[in-house]
């Protein structure tokens, strides 16, 4: 088997002492940023990118991806112990995790979440290992119109499926593309959107935008809401771990279903949050009659399902990033941006040109998730202690670290000012339902999207028909159209069948 020998090569790269060390550091940092409110995987990766300049690309991507896995593991600590979801996909875990922790089962709730993450990670990694090469081989047939079709599909998924206001998602996406276009046009070499201002000529860096929008914006929201961290104390006992393993056998249906839902939703953009809610809903709907009442009061399956889904979705978000060059989550978008900075061209050619890089990453996904499981099981109380540090100490430290990250990208002072500006924009956008994930994606993919669009038009000498050519571009564009207008279509369907209220 070709895939297995490649996987062995990847594992061989991943278990080299230096790479294991890097993965361990990444996981620990990831758990910390996952636990902290206001920081997440996307931010952690953005701040670390300058550090990766001094590393070989394989170690660099292992560091960032391990941080991503750590952040996924860490996110549930905050929601279970403090009832504060650190990430949107951790909301479903608070339903049962926090009540269980309050009733003295904090250690059990955490172990349940960690093992569910482990299963989700296993499924996601299997998917990544065995499907990535197939999809990449298929994607090799893509020309500019097809690549553009995939991007259209990605952004229409955000418009139609994620977020409260489809209209505002369109606006936010367009703003992301505009910000990406500032500076030198990569095709004609012309300066545009600079209005003669020198600081604008360098363009906007997506890392600065991530740190501002997702880091400072979150911090502003947190202080506005007057964060009160009153958590449950936790001690992990062996009996917690063994009892959870028995529970897992008992509720294996919920765990497996969560992991599969997560993987299925995960490779679509923004899929982790709906996946965790769907998994929770399915688990509750499929519960035995005498157990339904237990949900919401601290039922262990109510932790298993959404957490397995969240990690499965997070892992499979790497699948489109590696194979098509289209990230499925904000953190994957930052890692993709890192790839470009290290001089690698993301997309299917990566599998041919840099097999050691691709398979090193896939191999380290196996290794780092395993390390992550042991780290969180062993040190969960220690990580929870980070949250007991007073927020008036944490907050200025976070701002200082964010400033370092923003400056280090390009060694430009103006970037620190942009960071503050993006922070205020992020705060206002979040409050007004503008979706920032597609905005970030547009900022990262801007040059590529524009290039594929313009190359396609050059190929067709200006005719838009090239985007609706069979066999690949046509179904992609059709699917994009259906998904983007899905809210309108489902409203129309409801009206025609008379089966309920129209959508507004």
């Amino acid at each position: 088997m070709d895939i297995l020998s490649n996987l062995m090569m990847g594992l061989h790269i991943a278990v080299q002492p230096f790479n294991v060390f890097v993965a361990f550091v990444g996981v620990v940092l990831g758990v910390i940023v996952g636990v902290l409110p206001g920081l997440g995987g996307a931010n952690g990766c953005a701040i670390l990118i300058p550090v990766t300049f001094v590393m070989p690309p394989v170690a660099a991507v292992i560091l960032l991806s391990s941080l991503y896995w750590g952040a996924l593991y860490g996110g549930c600590i905050c929601s279970i112990l403090f009832n504060i979801p650190g990430e949107p996909w951790a909301v479903a875990t608070t339903f049962d995790g926090y009540p269980m922790a309050q009733k003295g089962g904090a250690g059990r709730a955490l172990s349940a979440a960690f093992f569910a993450h482990g299963v989700g990670a296993l499924f996601g990694t299997i998917l990544l290992t065995f499907f990535a090469p197939i999809i990449a081989a298929f994607a090799l047939m893509f020309g500019p119109p097809e690549t553009f079709g995939v991007m259209l599909l990605t952004f229409s998924a955000f418009v139609g499926l994620v977020g409260k206001s489809p209209l505002k998602t369109v606006v936010a996406t367009a703003i992301g593309f505009i910000l990406a276009a500032v500076g030198i046009d990569t095709i004609s070499g012309e300066l545009r959107l600079t209005f003669g201002l020198v600081p604008l000529m360098g363009g906007f860096n997506f890392i600065v935008a991530v740190i501002g929008l997702f880091g400072l914006g979150e911090i502003f929201l947190t202080v506005e809401e007057g964060l009160k961290l009153e958590g449950v104390k936790v001690k992990m006992k062996w009996s917690d771990i063994t009892s959870v393993l028995w529970d897992m056998l008992k509720y294996k249906k919920e765990v497996l279903m969560g992991a599969i839902v997560g993987c299925w939703m995960g490779f679509k953009p923004g899929g982790a949050t709906p996946a965790s809610f769907m998994a929770y809903g399915f688990a509750k709907a499929g519960a035995k009659a005498d157990e339904v009442g237990e949900y919401g009061k601290g039922h262990v399956a109510g932790i298993f399902a959404p957490e397995a889904a969240a990690h499965g979705a997070g892992t499979s978000a790497l699948l489109p990033m590696l194979t098509l060059g289209i990230p499925g989550s904000p953190t994957a978008a930052v890692i993709l941006g890192g790839l470009m900075i290290w001089g690698l061209q993301p997309g299917p050619m990566l599998f041919k040109d840099k097999p050691d890089f691709v398979w090193g990453l896939i191999g380290s996904t196996w290794v780092a998730n395993l390390i992550g499981l042991f780290v969180v099981l062993a040190f969960a109380p220690l990580f929870a202690a980070v949250l007991r540090i007073s927020f008036s100490i944490l907050m200025p430290l976070l701002i200082f670290i964010c400033a370092i990250g923003a400056y280090a990208v390009n060694n430009r002072m103006i970037d620190i000012w942009y960071m503050i500006l993006f922070g205020i924009i992020g705060w206002a956008f979040k409050k007004l339902d503008y979706n920032m994930a597609p905005m970030l994606l547009a900022l990262v993919l801007g040059d590529m999207a524009e290039a594929t669009l313009r190359q396609s038009l050059i190929m067709s000498q200006g005719s838009l028909w090239i985007f609706v050519q069979p066999p690949i571009a046509l179904p992609l564009v059709l699917a994009a159209g259906v998904i983007a207008f899905w809210p309108a279509i489902s409203a129309l369907k409801a009206r025609l069948t008379g089966g309920g209220e129209p959508a507004h």
Partner: protein, 160 residues
């Protein structure tokens, strides 16, 4: 300010942004040139999406069909003060960075913030406020060789 008003004002600002982008795009050429679609083509299409989208957002806000609870206050009473307590010292730190560099500015910022905004003891404030920038200096400047801004005078003061 009500959320509805904030929604409309934000949309108007974004619309203005879209108009400026469209203006520059037309200036750079949105048609067909020797190199295919010209440099302004893609920004122009995006600007049209922003202008059209924000116009519809404003329409929704006025009709009350937006996803937001328009009658709620945009910032709850007393919500603005804590944000200002975060933003103003941060802006001051960046201004100070322009003069004495990030590390020295951060020491002043951290010690000051933890002491006065956080009401912690002098010992805690000084310990964290000095130790963290010092460690970052060693890690970034010395170990990873990533220079941080030194401002106008920072390099003269920090001589090790």
């Amino acid at each position: 300010m009500l959320t509805k008003k904030a929604d409309i004002i934000t949309a108007l600002i974004l619309m203005l942004f879209g108009l400026i982008v469209a203006y520059d795009a037309i200036d750079k050429g949105i048609g067909w040139g020797a190199e295919g679609p010209r440099a302004g083509f893609f920004p122009f299409v995006m600007a049209l999406l922003v202008i059209g989208g924000t116009a519809m957002v404003i329409g929704q806000a006025i009709k009350g069909t937006s996803s937001l609870k328009g009658a709620k206050r945009f910032v709850e009473a007393g919500g603005m003060k804590p944000i200002m307590i975060v933003i103003i010292p941060a802006v001051l730190m960046i201004l100070l960075t322009e003069v004495i560099g990030l590390y020295l500015a951060a020491i002043i910022y951290l010690v000051g913030y933890i002491k006065w905004a956080g009401n912690h003891s002098w010992r805690t404030s000084l310990l964290i406020g000095i130790l963290v920038p010092l460690v970052s200096y060693v890690v970034f400047d010395k170990f990873f060789l990533i220079p941080m801004p030194m401002g106008l005078y920072g390099a003269q003061i920090l001589r090790f």
